[in-house]
């Protein structure tokens, strides 16, 4: 059907560039991947929006559900609570991340690589894990609960600490990038004008990274408002939007109200997304071609201060993980502190047992393989494809959209769309495939951006030369594009793998008895009160993700030496 449609549309005026069979094949692929994004993203979201205007029998009630929502005080409080968590987390995380990024880029302290690696660790664990660690640290039987001076860790305090842990690496990456594009000439000029270091900081450094800071702030805000792992574990009776969706759907099977809360949650996430896109564009414009990279000069006092600071942040991160590993090994905290592996008997607990761990690895592998193929081919067609301008534009827009959709909302939208008896794709429901599709879609945007960035670095001449040599595009693609972009392809697959291992939000609505996942098992075990096994499973996820990450590091070094030699020769 689609092939026919394309064939008709290409028989345009004679003067147009003759479209080869090559072009047609390419357009077909654009359509296939475009259809994927429409089916996996646009349709489910539409299904969710329409669900929010139906009653439980399926009759149209307009905005009645929304009225009911805003007339239920306990639900509306959650909006305030979510915003509160968002603002507090954002200010704390961005501050901590900024100082750490400053230490990593502007000081000459030793051990920068180590500190940077440690700061990235939170990406490798589900957001439930810091909550569990906080219970062991600051709960009623906490190791150091005196430090809270009688305050309760269950509630906003716990949520914010857990969210800071969870969001730190995301903010750090953005701010490091912003700080590393500084132009040394500005600093030289400021010093020549005898500006003091404080003045330089406020008039040169801060304005230079302002877009990075704004961008980081919005990313952190979105993550902390839409995350539900931390509030689920450590939130106590402090309800937030993300936990409300879960509560409405899983606890009360009130899907319509779940859809309403999802729409409410889309607003802050969508706003943050728009602002972030605008700011990102300005950030790029800041970097001028003549900029001179800034080399920090040694300053013993400052370097030591930064070193101490970085150590403190690292202790916080490693400490959280250490506590979880300790919790996993202790037989019966706090009354029997002897160590053993009894908490690893997952088969005796809720959550699906060891099978869920292996399901997670399977799911993550499929996500990495199929996701990378899909994302990279999609990005290639958008970047290098000929013709079909509007379709490629729509495609680009669809590819950016998942970033603005919280995982819980996506998962819920999938229930509405795929579990509808009238949907021919209904057979996907409760399969491994739907978990893979939802995860690829959930993490599509960042992967797509990584792919397009890599592809933009490649000269368009490759395609023209190949065309003049009458080579089909797929040959160029497989023989030239893919090898040259191998590092980016590896990055994408590892990004997808790690996120598939740790994500809870979308899949929590979609797993079935045969496809339980490790991250969801952490959630379910914690729910049943089996917190030590939950910590044990969380650490299994961490070790797996870390192992794959290390493998990736070794692999990409090997690959780079073999496929990236051209970059070095160009630079020289």
């Amino acid at each position: 059907m689609t092939a026919k449609g394309v064939a008709i549309s290409t028989t345009g005026p004679m003067l147009r560039r003759k479209s080869s069979s090559d072009d047609r094949a390419m357009r077909l692929f654009v359509l296939v991947i475009g259809v994927y994004l429409i089916v996996a993203l646009a349709f489910p979201l539409y299904a969710m929006l329409s669900k929010s205007t139906l009653d439980s029998k399926g009759g149209f009630v307009g905005l009645e559900n929304y009225l009911a929502y805003f007339n239920t005080p306990s639900l509306v409080y959650s909006i305030q609570n979510s915003l509160f968590i968002g603002f507090v987390t954002t200010s704390i995380t961005v501050t901590i991340a900024f100082v750490l990024a400053y230490a990593l880029t502007r000081s000459r302290m030793p051990g920068k690589a180590v500190f940077k690696t440690v700061a990235m660790i939170p990406i490798l664990v589900p957001s439930l894990l810091p909550g569990i660690a906080l219970i062991y640290l600051f709960g009623r039987q906490g190791l150091i609960n005196e430090l809270l001076f009688g305050h309760d860790i269950y509630g906003p305090i716990g949520i914010v600490i857990a969210e800071v842990f969870f969001t730190l690496p995301h903010a750090l990456i953005i701010i490091i990038t912003a700080l590393s594009i500084a132009d040394a000439r500005l600093y030289e000029a400021a010093t020549a004008l005898r500006a003091g270091s404080a003045r330089i900081f406020f008039t040169v450094t801060l304005p230079g990274v302002r877009y990075g800071l704004i961008s980081a702030a919005f990313v952190v805000f979105t993550l902390s408002v839409t995350d539900f792992g931390a509030p689920k574990v450590i939130g106590g009776d402090f309800n937030v939007l993300a936990t409300d969706i879960y509560k409405q759907v899983i606890g009360q099977q009130n899907f319509e109200m779940g859809a309403v809360v999802s729409v409410v949650l889309l607003i802050p996430a969508g706003l943050a997304f728009v602002v972030d896109r605008i700011v990102q564009k300005k950030q790029i414009a800041l970097l001028s071609a003549r900029a001179v990279p800034l080399e920090p000069s040694p300053d013993k006092k400052f370097d030591n201060l930064m070193l101490v600071y970085s150590i403190v942040v690292s202790i916080f991160i490693v400490g959280i993980l250490g506590v979880c590993q300790f919790a996993a090994l202790v037989k019966f905290y706090p009354y029997n502190l002897s160590l053993g592996l009894s908490n690893y008997q997952f088969d005796l607990m809720d959550g699906g047992g060891w099978a869920s761990y292996f399901n997670s690895i399977e799911m993550a592998s499929y996500t990495a393989v199929f996701g990378t193929i899909l994302v990279f081919s999609g990005a290639y067609l958008v970047e290098k494809g000929q013709g079909l301008g509007p379709i490629r534009g729509t495609f680009q827009l669809l590819a950016m959209l998942p970033m603005a959709i919280p995982g819980l909302v996506l998962g819920l939208a999938y229930i509405f769309f795929f579990n509808s008896p009238s949907n021919p794709l209904n057979f996907l429901y409760h399969t491994m495939a739907i978990l893979v599709i939802s995860t690829i879609t959930h993490f599509y945007t960042v992967s797509h951006l990584t792919a397009t960035t890599a592809l933009k670095q490649m000269d368009a001449q490759f395609e023209s030369v190949a065309a003049s040599l009458k080579q089909p595009f797929y040959r160029t693609f497989l023989r030239v594009t893919v090898p040259v972009c191998t590092p980016a392809i590896l990055d994408i697959s590892i990004y997808l793998f790690v996120n598939a291992m740790t994500t809870v939000s979308a899949v929590v609505f979609l797993y079935s008895p045969h496809t339980t996942l490790a991250s969801v098992a952490v959630l379910n075990m914690d729910d049943a009160g089996d917190i030590a096994p939950a910590a044990a499973m969380g650490m299994m996820i961490f070790y797996t993700a870390a192992g794959v990450k290390i493998l990736h590091y070794l692999l990409s070094r090997g690959v780079e030496s073999r496929t990236q030699a051209w970059r070095v020769s160009v630079a020289k």
Binding site: V32, Y36, S74, I135, G139, R140, Q141, Y154, F228, P231, K232, G235, G236, D237, N239, V240, T243, D244, Y246, K247, I250, G251, Q252, Q253, K331, F332, Y333, P334, Y335, N336, D347, L348, M349, D350, G351, F370, I373, L374, P421, L425, F427, L428, T431, M432, A433, P513, H514, D527, A528, G529, D530, I531
Partner: protein
């Protein structure tokens, strides 16, 4: 293109394979919904398979309220074949909706009369009684100078403020049997008045019925309103727990079995339900529960208080099932703000 191939691999092929194996090898997969404690599921399936190796049980487990809601939500398109180990009040609700397949299992007569559905043919059969109990952490009580409670009313003592956890009845069957027993024992008005007072002392409501006792076992709270089975298990694991049976009497519910109306595997489902009332099955239930369907077989269970059978109230299941929705709505209106996320 790739997507289509890969969809079919997981969507259609396993479904076909299942269908084939069903007809060709007569080995049957039964989807069994349950609220039985996770740690017992493997044992239940294994014991059943000793006698019927040709039927494979695929468990779907969650808290009572969740399984109930799930079954009700799937009413039009049921995915379960058998329910094995769900509260009788929930099954009564489904019986009212016509969701259960009436069946008289072989050996039904052996069961005590309160474990049998009065309809003929019956729609459900009882397995064991799971009874409310209060788990008190002795170490924490001493630390906070808390007196040992002996009755439900004791728990409203302001001394316990912030030291009590109990399950949310919306998601937990244990939570519901507590609430329904208080309303039956103290009367509608007295019951809510009691809960209003108790609410002042509650630190938080939990999603599952076992969590309060597990939290008490860890000392995360001093007192967990939970059920006797959980308390006994945690005590056996070395927790400093005292299991209290409140003097006013305790709510209880039956774990029961039923066939889902519309199952395509009726024969296998019948085999499982037949087995679920055998003496062998009852002895298995007795490993964790003191009160079972064939009570003459029952042996005392370690760490279980021995006054349980006398303390069990004369529970009106029909009343509880009929009023379940109203009670839960009222409860939610009054107390939900202290609920854990995921009520």
């Amino acid at each position: 293109m790739k997507k289509i191939l890969f969809r079919s691999r997981w969507g259609v092929v396993p479904a076909l394979a299942l269908g084939l194996s069903y007809t060709a090898f007569a080995a049957t997969d039964l989807t069994v919904y349950t609220a039985v404690e996770a740690e017992d599921l493997k044992k239940y399936a294994a014991r059943f398979n000793e006698d019927h190796p040709d039927i494979k049980i695929n468990w779907v487990r969650d808290s009572t309220g969740i399984v109930t809601a799930k079954l009700l939500a799937e009413k039009e398109n049921p995915r379960a074949d058998v329910i094995w180990g769900l509260a009788a009040t929930s099954l009564l609700l489904m019986k009212g909706e016509g969701m259960l397949q009436p069946y008289t299992p072989k050996g039904l007569d052996g069961l005590d009369s309160k474990f049998r559905d009065k309809s003929d043919p019956p729609t459900w059969t009882g397995m064991d009684a799971w009874v409310a109990a209060v788990c008190v952490n002795t170490v924490e009580s001493e630390k906070h100078n808390l007196p040992m409670p002996s009755s439900w009313k004791d728990l409203t003592n302001p001394a316990y403020k912030g030291h009590v956890a109990m399950p949310n009845p919306n998601s937990s069957g244990t939570g519901f049997l507590d609430v329904s027993s208080w309303l039956q024992m103290f009367g509608e008005e007295g019951g809510w008045a009691f809960m209003d007072q108790l609410h002042q002392n509650i630190d938080h409501y939990t999603h599952s019925g076992s969590k309060p006792c597990k939290q008490a076992a860890r000392g995360e709270v001093a007192i967990g309103v939970s059920f006797a089975f959980r308390g006994a298990k945690s005590k056996a694991a070395g927790a400093p727990l005292e299991i209290i049976i409140p003097s006013e009497g305790i709510g209880w519910d039956m774990e029961a079995t039923a066939i889902v109306n519309g199952t395509k595997k009726l024969d296998a489902a019948k085999t499982l339900v037949d087995w679920s009332v055998t003496e062998k099955a009852n002895k298995m239930y007795n490993e964790g529960y003191a009160v079972i369907g064939i009570q003459r077989l029952a042996k005392p269970v370690e760490h279980f208080p021995d006054n349980i059978p006398q303390a069990m109230i004369d529970n009106n299941f029909e009343w509880a099932a009929q009023n379940r929705k109203r009670i839960l709505a009222e409860w939610q209106k009054r107390y939900d703000s202290k609920s854990e996320p995921k009520s």
